[in-house]
């Protein structure tokens, strides 16, 4: 069997173990079949030179490859080698362009006249708008009203690039509702429209398609770490919302059994859920979710016993989602990926720490991965409290009294050589960070008064 035949066989499977599938209205099924066909021909077999054109555009327009940077001061602080995969340096400021450019280009190869997308943090919307402008395809973006308000700079950027931005008011007006609305648009216009889904979620073939576009992160990182450190890392750490930067960073390492893969979820303000209110004050789906069907796939979900989807929460809009990619659910069940979570406060500290120590302002999403470093390997790690414990405190706005309590749970041993995926840059988050920092007494934060606007 040739390699491409093997690929075909493997990739036409719509499931990852018990997860995945295609749970969508019938009207969309022919479009999914068409996309599956296009995925196999263009992406897996490079028909018409699709992959060559994609790589060239990712280099010239997207700024790839991104550096793998040794973080000197973090390495010192954590007493091990810390390397940062700098996806914040991709054009647009996040890994999202890898996927958006791939899909908009694919839409063009498929002869679609128009692309639509949902966005949470606005990074995927921005990346899609940029790719659409670059490739001259009309583009419409759906974004929850809450996210429109907390990610203003990205709303402007999308508009600058000529995309139409449609605020969505339903529910908690975040990513979940934006996806619902984009699916409705797609079900109406499916014959001429491609839906550029923003993460490794949704019906088959999206989870595989998006993963393949994002796998460049881990492919580069694997080569770079070998060159720079002379061996494979002991662990790869990435934040997980839907999980596209996560699987992007992990995919090339999945068969390297000695490399630990750590997915850091948003613990929000607490890992407890409020069944009565249908509210999960976190987005820690891999850590606490149960199996069900949302947005076209069987996966782990934050849901009530009756199967109603919970409103999730995270200080970072891009992680604020009640579902997660089916492939990650599967890799967690098989033990290959370890899900962990840090809360809003840990993430904010991670944000400030990287900004201060390394001169890199990370996205609040990525800050969760950085926050986890401190939990697992920081000076207080020996006797730090468990991530779960902080819930009541951060809700009340109290400072965390680090170090007083014994560790309630053990953290992953990250080993001596760690790659952390910095999935995006934090320019979009400055307002949120200022606001959230002012509410708290954060150990890693600078004096916020200096930012007071007269």
């Amino acid at each position: 069997m040739s390699k491409s035949e093997r690929n075909r066989e493997r990739d036409s499977d719509p499931t990852f173990g018990d997860y995945g599938g295609q749970y969508v209205p019938e009207a969309l099924m022919p479009a999914l079949q068409e996309l599956e066909d296009a995925y196999e021909r263009y992406v897996l077999e490079n028909e018409d030179g699709f992959v060559d054109e994609f790589r060239e555009r990712m280099r010239d327009f997207g700024g790839r490859p991104t550096p793998l940077q040794r973080a000197d001061r973090l390495s010192e602080r954590y007493d091990r080698e810390i390397y940062l995969k700098r996806e914040d340096l991709v054009h647009g400021g996040a890994h999202k362009l890898n996927n958006a450019l791939g899909q908009v280009l694919l839409a063009k190869y498929m002869g679609k006249e128009r692309v639509i997308a949902e966005t949470g943090a606005g990074q995927h919307g921005t990346a899609t708008a940029m790719a659409a402008a670059h490739l001259d395809v009309p583009c419409e973006i759906y974004m929850g009203r809450t996210d429109v308000n907390r990610q203003r700079p990205n709303v402007y950027r999308m508009r600058m690039n000529g995309a139409e931005v449609n605020p969505v008011d339903a529910g908690s007006a975040t990513l979940k509702e934006a996806i619902n609305e984009t699916m409705r648009d797609w079900a109406t216009t499916v014959e001429r429209t491609h839906y550029v889904i923003g993460s490794i979620v949704g019906p088959h073939p999206f989870p595989k398609l998006v993963r393949d576009f994002q796998a460049v992160i881990g492919r580069e990182a694997r080569e770079q770490i070998r060159e720079q450190a002379g061996r494979l890392p002991d662990s790869v750490v990435a934040c997980a919302g839907g999980g596209s930067n996560t699987m992007g960073a992990f995919h090339e390492f999945v068969s390297d059994d000695d490399v630990d893969l750590v997915a850091v979820e948003a613990g929000g303000s607490s890992l407890e859920i409020d069944e009565e209110e249908g509210l999960a004050p976190n987005s820690a789906t891999l850590s606490t979710g149960t199996d069900g069907v949302l947005h076209g796939a069987m996966t782990k979900l934050l849901q009530s016993g009756d199967g109603q989807i919970m409103e999730s929460h995270s200080v970072s809009a891009g992680l604020d989602y009640a579902g997660v990619g089916p492939e990650l659910s599967h890799l967690v069940d098989t033990g290959r990926v370890t899900p962990v979570s840090v809360d809003d406060e840990d993430a904010l500290n991670g944000f400030h720490r990287l900004s201060r120590l390394e001169g890199i302002i990370p996205a609040l999403e990525s800050s969760h991965a950085l926050g986890y470093l401190e939990r697992a390997a920081g000076p207080a790690a020996e006797n730090a409290s468990s991530p779960e414990r902080s819930s009541a405190d951060s809700r009340a706005g109290n400072p965390r009294d680090n170090g007083d309590e014994p560790r309630a749970e053990s953290y992953e041993d990250l080993g001596d050589l760690v790659v952390v995926n910095v999935s995006g840059r934090g320019d979009k988050d400055l307002e949120t960070v200022l606001e959230e920092t002012e509410k708290r007494d954060l150990e890693a934060a600078p004096e916020v008064e200096v930012f007071d606007r007269d």
């Binding site: 209205p25 022919p30 339903a170 619902n180 499916v190 199967g307």
Partner: protein, 299 residues
Amino acid sequence: MTNESATAESDVEIAIRENHPALITYITAGDPSLEDTKAYVEALDRGGADLIELGLPFSEPIAEGPTIQAAINRALDAGTTPQGFFELVDDLETEAPLLVMTYYNVILQYGPTADVRPFVERAAEAGLSGIIVPDLPAEEADPLRDACDDHGLDLVFIVAPTTEGERLETIMSKASGFAYVQARLGTTGARADVSNATHDSLARLEEYDVSEPRSEARRAQSDGVPKAVGFGVSEGDHAAEIVEAGADGVIVGSALVDIIADHGEGDAPAATDLEAKARELKRGALRGAGGEVPEPEQP
């Protein structure tokens, strides 16, 4: 529980055949309360509905337009649960068979683990005749199809304007009760006209003849089921046009939900209006079949 569908024609198919052309109505259970729903279902039954679909609310109704989405939100806000829904159905005695329309996750979560069987068992016990799941394409439907067969329930599939060729064949081989012909692309919602897509879809379905009663064995041969058209139907004239185009039934949802939305909780006139609307629609359907149209009854 016996496997009735293997031997007997389903309640749903009989109801459509005997009342041809059939009126199929949808409302959301629990909107604005389960008590009101009981009164509304009885009103639709009196008004001439031949089948009644009851929506069991799911928080992410991706196939619905704004009208039904809002109804689902009202029902969820009122605390509607699958348990409450089944208790309502336990209580209902209607001439028209009842079907439940809900999303796949609600069905999966009814039991202690993600499994469709407990839901189907309870649905059969409550006396429901069939299930419609807008986010369950034929490709993923085998577990639910099998469970429905074991309990004598129909599983209705949607045929979209984009459904053609092999897919149509597959769907028709799995469908029972009726084929839900989606009149247009997009989501549910009352419209001012009948889409051309309706005529095209019905033409594609022409070869699936339904003149004869049908058993499970015949279903295996991809034989036809009755064809009912929904998505956007709101007036008697639409019903007439759709039946004239060859449909065995018309499905009306948003137009009824709009009536409910205009009334408050515990408002008896809502039931009167629903009954009148059902009569209008049924008369339209009969007119479309060129049959005898009864004079409107004086209230």
